[in-house]
């Protein structure tokens, strides 16, 4: 599904250059559920950002769905993200100005879809996470678990082949966390590739495979 070939990422701030990732070789097969683990600051989120094409590597290349991602053009990257990738963030990142339904519609907004069709798909996604009764609420009116369920629905709604989750349970208590993880597992069973960053070993047990990072290097 996605392959990182000898990928490195450097950040420059003023005169100091920091290496966040160093020579990563990683292949995630279609339908896999991979957990990425490691201590804070080891480059987990950077790895996820590179996989999600939010960032481009300083060296090496990313091959998505058999196609090397050669472009750095914003328009191309945006299109690929929109079609192939779904994101879930630790802090949910729901848009506070929009209702639950409008939040879920965001990925569909950048495809040529009729508004009726967008609405139908978004409602179906919300139904799958069990929130059909809250579609007209604003994010601030929901509990943390409910907010993350909305975020999951938003990640699913465009039917991406790759789901990237960055500490999806980090801000939730364990019951809520289990619930969200159940949703991810269900998606995986339905054929979606899932890559999840976590530092919680219990959560990682749901994965088929665990990748460990330390100081920007892959240790396992």
């Amino acid at each position: 599904m996605i392959r990182l070939e000898d990928v490195s990422k450097n950040y420059r701030t003023d005169r100091i250059e920091t290496r966040a990732l160093d020579g990563i070789q990683l292949t995630v097969e279609r339908g896999e559920f991979v957990a990425v683990m490691g201590p804070s600051g080891c480059g987990k989120t950077t790895l996820l950002n590179l996989m999600g094409l939010l960032d481009v590597p300083s060296a090496g290349r990313v091959v998505l769905d058999g196609q090397p991602v050669a472009t750095r053009r914003d328009r191309e990257l945006s299109r690929l993200r929109n079609e192939k990738v779904g994101f879930i963030f630790q802090s949910f990142h729901l848009v506070p100005d929009l209702t639950v339904l409008d939040n879920v519609e965001i990925p569909l907004l950048y495809r040529r879809l009729a508004s009726r069709e967008r609405r139908r798909l978004a409602l179906a996604a919300l139904d799958r996470v069990g929130l059909s009764s809250r579609v007209h609420h604003f994010p601030t009116q929901l509990s943390g678990g409910q907010q993350q369920r909305v975020a999951v629905a938003r990640a699913f709604v465009g039917r991406p082949q790759l789901l990237l989750a960055d500490e999806p349970t980090g801000n939730l208590d364990s019951t809520m966390g289990e619930e969200i993880l159940g949703l991810l597992a269900a998606a995986n069973t339905a054929g979606t590739t899932v890559v999840m960053v976590t530092h919680d070993t219990r959560m990682a047990q749901h994965a088929h495979r665990v990748v460990r990072l330390f100081d920007g290097r892959q240790v396992q």
Partner: protein, 412 residues
């Protein structure tokens, strides 16, 4: 896409009530001032009755004489017009009118001040007055120096409290005139036709005007639109060839046929007939408008910038889910445009109220300031320009945000 942008813009504006209110207030107030100014200019320069034939009318609004030692700039004189404006090519009518002056009457023992303007018979044919009763005086009336007058509606009600005025007499400046017609009020800002009372030139108390080559008259020429240039050239040639009656003091005349707008710009930029400067008046007006818009524009840019940067998180999410930079620029520009147009609509509405109040206040006599379609379109254009102006820079700043940084909520 546009539809969803619009929907989104509407939702965001409803949620961010303070930002929306602050922006709307700024735009509406700016538009209010600009629209009122546009309505005032429109009242002076645009073709409204009785000046409906403005496009076909040229005027001799000012002229002078110059000699080796002195020169005198004033208005056209009666003999000059009679002698040099006859049989101009393409001219259909030539009307003469004096600058209005204030006269007092004491109809019921109480003082009434009116503006009196002396004109000729052709005046009523070049201009398009609407008569409420009676009719204009004729060229024959003027020739015979008949004491007849056309008065406006307000004068009728001030002098004759009950009903009709035609056939009755009115005393002005110690002279008695028989009223032959009543017209609708003409706004004070219509410099050429404005007066309360119009009487024949020949009823003047002294006929010294017949000897003054430079005097206090305007001459209007109603012309064939196709032959305007020819007309101007021919008149310019005649002015160049004409010789003042007293060749020792003054050796030649200056002055030419102009439109009203050219006249006003000349008055401001070249009072001594250096050259017609139509461009500069437009330039100065545009410059003033821009200067005035400076502060509101900076204010709106700042507000928009804040409104957008406050939503860095949202920008990150949208980028993550596949919105390209250009899509986001589009979204935010549409948001700013919607805001500006809403504010613009509000401003135009408010200016309607202000104009109505101005008309009623009597600050400008007989003002008929209106929000006609022309002024309205100006307002619309102003607000759209304003929206683009204030929306594009913040949107551009925003589109340069890196998605990873934006998600971290740390705008640059």
């Amino acid at each position: 896409m546009l539809h969803s942008y619009l929907k989104l813009a509407w939702k965001v504006l409803l949620r961010r009530k303070f930002f929306t209110f602050a922006s709307l207030f700024g735009v509406a107030f700016t538009l209010l001032v600009l629209t009122v100014a546009a309505a005032l200019l429109d009242d002076v320069f645009a073709p409204h009755p009785p000046e409906t034939r403005m496009a076909r009318t040229l005027g001799l609004y000012g002229m002078g004489m110059t000699g080796p030692e002195s020169s005198r700039t004033s208005f056209a004189g009666w003999p000059f017009v009679k002698r040099y404006m006859r049989d101009l090519p393409g001219a259909e009518k030539v009307a003469l009118l004096q600058l209005q002056h204030e006269v007092d009457s004491y109809p019921h023992g109480q003082k009434l001040t009116s503006y009196l303007k002396r004109t000729d018979g052709a005046f009523w044919q070049v201009l398009d007055f609407h008569f409420l009763e009676g009719q204009p005086f004729t060229e024959d009336d003027e020739r015979q120096a008949r004491r007849v007058a056309v008065i406006n509606e307000t004068t009728r009600s001030r002098f004759f409290s009950n009903g009709h005025a035609v056939g009755r007499t009115i005393e002005m400046d110690g002279q008695r005139f028989r009223v032959v017609g009543v017209v609708e009020d003409v706004p004070f800002l219509r410099v050429v036709p404005f007066a309360d009372v119009w009487v024949p030139i020949s009823t003047a108390r002294s006929d010294s005007y017949k000897r003054e080559y430079v005097g206090d008259f305007f001459a209007l020429v109603l012309a064939d639109p196709a032959r305007m240039d020819e007309l101007r050239r021919e008149f310019a040639a005649r002015v160049a060839a004409a010789r003042p009656p007293d060749p020792h003091t003054f050796t030649r005349f200056y002055g030419g046929l102009e439109s009203l707008f050219e006249f006003v710009s000349r008055l401001i930029f070249a009072p001594h007939f250096e050259e017609a400067h139509t461009g500069s008046l437009l330039g100065v007006l545009a410059g003033l408008a821009l200067l005035f818009m400076l502060l509101p524009a900076i204010n709106l840019v700042n507000l928009n910038l804040s409104r957008i940067l406050e939503r860095t998180g949202e920008i990150g999410v949208r980028k993550a889910f596949g919105a390209s930079s250009w899509t986001l620029v589009g979204q935010f520009v549409v948001e700013s445009l919607v805001l500006s147009l809403l504010g613009g609509a509000l401003g135009v509405l408010l200016s309607g109220i202000v104009l109505w109040a101005l008309n009623g206040s009597g600050l400008i006599p007989y003002a008929q300031l209106t929000l006609n379609p022309r002024v309205f379109l100006w307002g619309l254009a102003f607000s759209a320009a304003f929206g683009l102006l204030s929306g594009v820079y913040p949107a551009w700043r925003m589109s340069r945000l890196h998605p990873v940084e934006a998600l971290r909520g740390r705008p640059q």
